[in-house]
């Protein structure tokens, strides 16, 4: 036995695989399912892995673990500040940082970060300071032509720049970052005596002169957590795609087994042991899985390459993190991709193996018995689905009732429970719907009656494809509503917040002159000065970390348009309170710290402890940090906030554009402000920038969403194709009874449209629930703000229409083939049936 086993196995495997020679379509479908499932999943994972690698490099960079020192008055640091501190014995080290625009970057504004370090004073713990002890490395670094370090994935961009020092390749540098000696950096960035910041090792506990502020690295806004939520988002989308793809695989495998039952019985009857049979089937799965995984990973990487520049741009603009826009995939990525595809395949194939292992050698086809089993199966599905939905409901209630920080992972669990539960409930619900339909159809519409009954019979085969469609449709609807709602709210909010026509950020020493000059101008209606700084938040006597402080001028025009989410005694009272000494806080801070109007917070500022009453909570979309808003004068006085921006509101004028241009020109001429640097910003430009950031944020989501819907359509199509032959045998009697092929085709299309329509109708409430979960749970956990729930009827109609279109397209190919079948063949099939 043991000697013959390999040859038996080989023969068995060859016999099993010969099935696909007769039905290449099934093979294609199986591989297609595996391919799309693993392609989307590995694409998303490739993006995540690549970004994670970039973060790791950024975190390893020196600045991540050093305290930084800046001037309290916000003025730029100079060489003299550095010398003063060094001569006072403080072990500070200067860093120059700036951006080098690329002359022919792929998109506008592509740039590299240039960091100039002073290696002789840089604290030794800083990883940037590490360097191979090559003989003349330090000498080469310190004197012309200097040296410049760059990561391999930035090399191509760097080569477009002229007059750089000789390059040294340093793989552990973050992408788009150049490091060189401070002398070279000062020349390239035209800094002369300027310094971007001073750093000091955290362990040096020294007393700083009061003109300087020290910030520890963990107090700086950490992009980590926010970027994490972004990636979790992507992962969830990828998982959805994987699940939908596995539905296809499951359908294909089920079909392949169904059609080979006879073959399996024959093999068993010929003496092939059950274990050998299972082994052969397992090997077949492994073979398919490996090919599918390979295809999937390769195309996943291609997909990731297409999406990565957008992801990188999003992360850059949203969280100020730099992600390489070329892929850097660690080894475990490849392993993980194969593992997840095979794992998914075996989970989809487990039922096939199980059924194959229980084949009754003497059993014959028992099509009718399936029907009885189906009812029981539907009940179990409904039960499981109900339990999952109940779990989702409980989770939602739990998340809604816990104020403060919410867990993003729990939010995604909620969404997953919701989707899976609904998907499980779909077949029983569809069956119930069809039952009702059958009951109320007119008795005389025999063909319709038959159509409904026949559809019920098809449900077991169709249900998986329908579930996939349901998931895709509701995800489409949910994400679409969320994005649409965000756009409405965000743009509206932008309009309210950016109410000045022009924003000017003068240098500290120019500020007063410029303000006085602007006040004199006739075209200026009012000025809205704003400042920002930060302070330590004290909650219950404990330091809760730094919080951003924002100073505004509470003038009438601002009060009229500044939206508030929640106040203690109404809108007007909140503003009176603000002027009288209270504060506003943003939604992010309110949620994170569990604060509400009427509560009190304490701030540790440069002049001591300040206690503030909270008068209102305002929305602050897109801001990752908690923020407290105070009147600008108070911020300058009590928190020594540096001079900030001046918002210029123009007096009503006939030609806003011309007036604005004139004012900009005058400002540039008088104060040497150039509108191409950050000191002069047109409101329109600012809005455009914000909108761009916003659009980018959702590019990926939408792309994945569309792909998922495509996969679901594919699942439906492949399911129909796979059973087209069997279906023809069922349709043949009808044709024999005189129903024309044209009617049969219409009937078939009608059946499918009905099923899809039913699915789409169920997808609507599910999609709305999903939107609710996204705006009320996921967004809050991920970004710290909640969006109002918007419903877009046109979008819902589009989704339903989309389902119908998918159904028609999917039904069209089998229907077209039915039309082309010669009557002789139909006759044969009728005889066989």
């Amino acid at each position: 036995m043991s000697a013959t086993a390999p040859s038996v196995l080989r023969t068995t495997l060859a016999t099993l695989l010969s099935h696909y020679r007769r039905h290449p379509g099934q093979l294609v479908m199986l591989l297609l399912g595996l391919w799309v499932a693993s392609a989307l999943w590995s694409g998303v994972q490739a993006i995540n892995a690549s970004a994670r690698e970039s973060y790791d490099r950024a975190e390893a960079l020196f600045s991540a673990d050093l305290d930084r020192i800046t001037r309290r008055d916000g003025a730029a640091l100079t060489l003299d500040d550095y010398l003063d501190l060094r001569r006072a014995g403080l072990p500070v080290s200067p860093i120059i940082e700036g951006e080098l625009p690329l002359p022919n970057g792929k998109s506008d504004g592509e740039r590299l970060t240039l960091i100039g370090i002073e290696p002789l004073t840089l604290p030794s713990g800083a990883s940037l300071a590490q360097q191979d002890g090559d003989a003349n490395a330090l000498r080469d670094w310190l004197i012309p032509p200097y040296r410049m370090r760059v990561a391999p994935d930035t090399l191509e961009q760097v080569r477009t720049l002229n007059s750089l020092p000789p390059l040294e390749i340093t793989p552990d540098l973050p992408p788009a970052t150049l490091v060189t000696d401070i002398a070279a950096a000062a020349r390239l960035l035209d800094m002369d005596r300027g310094i971007t910041r001073l750093v000091i090792a955290p362990e040096h506990d020294v007393e700083l002169p009061s003109a300087f502020v020290r910030t520890s690295p963990d107090a700086l806004a950490s992009p980590g957590q926010l970027a994490d939520s972004f990636h979790l988002n992507l992962t969830a989308m990828g998982l959805l795609a994987l699940v939908v793809g596995l539905f296809i695989v499951h359908a294909a495998l089920g079909l392949a087994l169904e059609q080979r039952l006879g073959l399996l019985r024959t093999l068993r009857a010929l003496g092939v042991p059950a274990r050998t049979l299972i082994l052969a089937l397992g090997l077949e799965l492994l073979l398919m899985g490996s090919i599918g995984a390979l295809l999937g990973i390769v195309s996943g990487v291609i997909l990731a390459q297409l999406l990565l520049p957008d992801v990188a741009a999003t992360l850059d603009s949203l969280y100020d993190t730099t992600v390489s826009d070329t892929l850097n995939l660690p080894w475990y990525y490849w392993l993980g991709g194969v593992a997840i595809t095979l794992g998914g395949l075996f989970s989809a194939g487990a039922s096939m193996l199980w059924r194959a292992s229980r084949i009754n050698v003497l059993g014959l086809g028992q099509a009718q018995a399936w029907r009885g089993r189906l009812r029981g199966q539907l009940r179990v599905q409904l039960l499981f689905g109900g339990v999952l939905l109940a779990g989702a409901g409980f989770l939602w209630w739990y998340l809604a009732s816990t104020a403060g920080r919410q867990d993003l992972a729990l939010g995604f669990t909620l969404v997953a429970l919701l989707l899976l539960g609904a998907a499980l409930c779909l077949p029983p619900l569809l069956a119930g719907l069809l039952g009702l339909l059958a009951r109320y159809l007119p008795r005389r519409a025999a063909l319709l009656q038959w159509g409904v009954a026949d559809l019920q019979l098809q449900l077991p085969q169709l249900s998986l494809a329908m579930m996939a469609l349901l998931l895709a449709l509701s995800a489409n609807l949910g994400v679409g509503s969320m994005v649409g709602g965000f756009r409405l709210t965000f743009l509206d909010w932008l309009d309210q917040r950016l109410l000045a026509d022009l924003y000017v950020r003068p240098a500290a020493e120019q500020f007063e002159d410029l303000e006085a000059w602007l006040k004199e101008r006739s075209e200026v209606a009012t000025l809205l000065p704003a400042r920002s700084t930060e302070a330590e938040l004290i909650m219950n006597g404990k330091n809760a970390g730094p919080v951003a402080l924002f100073g505004i001028a509470p003038k009438l025009i601002l009060r009229d348009s500044w939206p508030l989410l929640d106040t203690q005694d109404g809108y007007g009272a909140a503003w009176r309170d603000l002027i009288a000494g209270a504060a506003f806080i943003n939604e992010q801070l309110a949620r994170r710290q569990g604060l509400a109007p009427g509560d009190r917070v304490q701030l540790q500022g440069p002049t001591g402890l300040v206690t503030l009453d909270i008068a209102a909570v305002y929305p602050d979309y897109g801001n990752p940090r908690g923020e407290i808003t105070l009147p600008v004068a108070r911020l300058a006085r009590e928190f020594q906030a540096p001079s900030g921006t001046l918002g210029v509101v123009l007096a009503p004028t006939q030609d806003r554009e011309r007036t604005l241009t004139r004012l900009q020109d005058a400002l540039s001429a008088r104060f040497r402000l150039a509108d191409n640097d950050a000191s002069l910003i047109d409101q329109q430009a600012l809005k455009q920038l914000a909108t761009e950031v916003f659009e980018r944020t959702f590019t990926i989501t939408r792309a994945l969403n569309a792909l998922t819907l495509g996969v679901a359509g594919l699942a439906l199509l492949t399911t129909l194709l796979a059973q087209a032959e069997a279906r023809r045998a069922q349709l043949a009697p009808l044709w024999a009874m005189g129903v024309s092929r044209g009617r049969l085709v219409r009937l078939q299309i009608g059946q499918l449209v009905m099923a899809c329509l039913g699915t789409a109708l169920l997808a609507i409430p599910l999609g709305l629930l999903l939107t609710g979960a996204l705006v009320a749970v996921i967004n809050v956990a991920a970004f710290g703000w909640r969006l109002p729930l918007h419903v877009f009827p046109a979008q819902i109609a589009m989704t339903v229409a989309l389902a119908v279109v998918v159904a028609i397209v999917a039904a069209l190919i089998p229907a077209w083939r039915l039309r082309r079948v010669p009557p002789r063949q139909l006759l044969q099939e009728f005889a066989a049936a």
Partner: protein
């Protein structure tokens, strides 16, 4: 001759700075091979050069290396002995200034500065080091009034009129610090041929003068506790572009204050001559009045008597020093072995006690002893 030490310090610094701690294993004798490398277009120390002050108290940027090197033997009121070291090194990384082709910045400089400060207590040894680039003003030396500084460490004239005769020195590390006033009791002395000090048999050398007559008073701090001290200090000035012969591997250098007022400077460059045993010996006998008598290799003998393991190396901490012409035959012993400078370039530098034909005290510096 700490000078030598310093030289290699700076060279090794270049070789290794690695920007971080150079592993101690790499300071084996082979590392010293680089010290003999060609000096390119740097200016060379030559016999016949006339020293002139105060200009020569200041930096000589066209020479490769230079230092201001102070050591002091101090005693507290309760009789405890302390030793201090304050050293500022300058190194030119290129023979000439970078091309002034526009585009240069305040940070551009070919000069590199390094400083070591140490305090030896009766039980232990504390030290600290600093680095700075030239040009920006973080470190430097000015002559009128004299001021040599790096960060908040400095060696400078107590006032505008004191010149080089009355100096104030300060430095501090995490666990020590000192602030001392130095009062010269004698003249500057020029070593070798009017300040040209030969460093190998084939004639290369350095410009070298000293002020060995400083009377010291002031305060040292140990873990924050101030201790009043008085004593003697020795200041060396040396600059060169190449000091070691190609095969010289390290050196032992003595600066001794002898009872009766005479001073002895003596050094041994190990392995310098053609025969393996041969080391290059040299020195200066300084009379209490400040007259200097150069000692040729045959005029003196330096003989290690006892080795002890310090920081993983065998270091001679007990010597016999003889200068027959002046009837000098003394034992020179480290006050304690643990005076190791664990700086980027590590070496032994510490206070010694002199006994024998005459008593005294001083400083000993030893470099180039290979680790395990």
């Amino acid at each position: 001759m700490k000078r030598l030490l310093a030289i290699s310090l700076l060279f090794i610094l270049m070789l290794t700075l690695g920007w971080q701690f150079w592993p101690e294993e790499s300071t084996t004798a082979t590392s010293y091979a680089g010290l003999g490398e060609s000096s390119g277009d740097f200016r060379q120390a030559r016999p016949g050069t006339v020293l002139s002050f105060p200009e020569d108290h200041g930096p000589h940027p066209d020479f490769r290396i230079e230092w201001w090197y102070l050591t002091g033997n101090l005693v507290a009121e309760d009789g405890r002995h302390f030793g201090v070291q304050w050293t500022l090194f300058r190194q030119a990384m290129a023979p000439s200034d970078p091309q002034q082709n526009g585009g240069e910045t305040p940070w551009t400089s070919r000069q590199l500065w390094m400083a070591h400060a140490a305090l030896s207590t009766p039980q232990d040894h504390r030290f600290s080091e600093r680095f700075a680039r030239g040009g920006v003003g973080q470190a430097g030396v000015k002559t009128e009034p004299f001021d040599a500084w790096i960060d908040n460490w400095s060696l400078r004239s107590v006032d505008d009129t004191a010149g080089f005769d009355r100096l104030m020195v300060t430095a501090s590390g995490d666990d020590f610090g000192y602030r001392l006033t130095l009062d010269a009791q004698g003249p500057l002395v020029r070593h070798g041929q009017q300040g040209f000090s030969q460093k190998s048999a084939d004639g290369q050398g350095s410009m070298y003068y000293s002020q060995p007559f400083f009377q010291v008073s002031g305060e040292v701090r140990v873990d924050g506790d101030p201790i009043a001290v008085t004593g003697r200090a020795w200041l060396d000035r040396e600059w060169s572009s190449q000091l070691l012969g190609p095969t010289q591997s390290g050196w032992d250098w003595f600066s001794l204050h002898l009872d009766g007022g005479a001073k002895l400077m003596a050094f041994r460059l190990r392995g310098g001559n053609k025969n393996e045993e041969g080391s290059y010996l040299s020195g200066s006998w300084i009379t209490p009045q400040g007259e200097i008598i150069p000692l040729k290799p045959d005029d003196l003998s330096l003989e290690p008597l006892e080795y002890q393991s310090v920081a993983g190396r065998d270091i001679p901490i007990h010597w016999r020093v003889q200068v027959p012409a002046y009837d000098l035959d003394v034992n020179v012993r480290a006050r304690h072995p643990n005076q190791w400078m664990g700086t980027s370039f590590p070496y032994w530098e510490g206070m010694v006690d002199v006994s024998g034909s005459t008593a005294g005290e001083g400083y000993l510096e030893m470099t180039g002893y290979a680790g395990e």
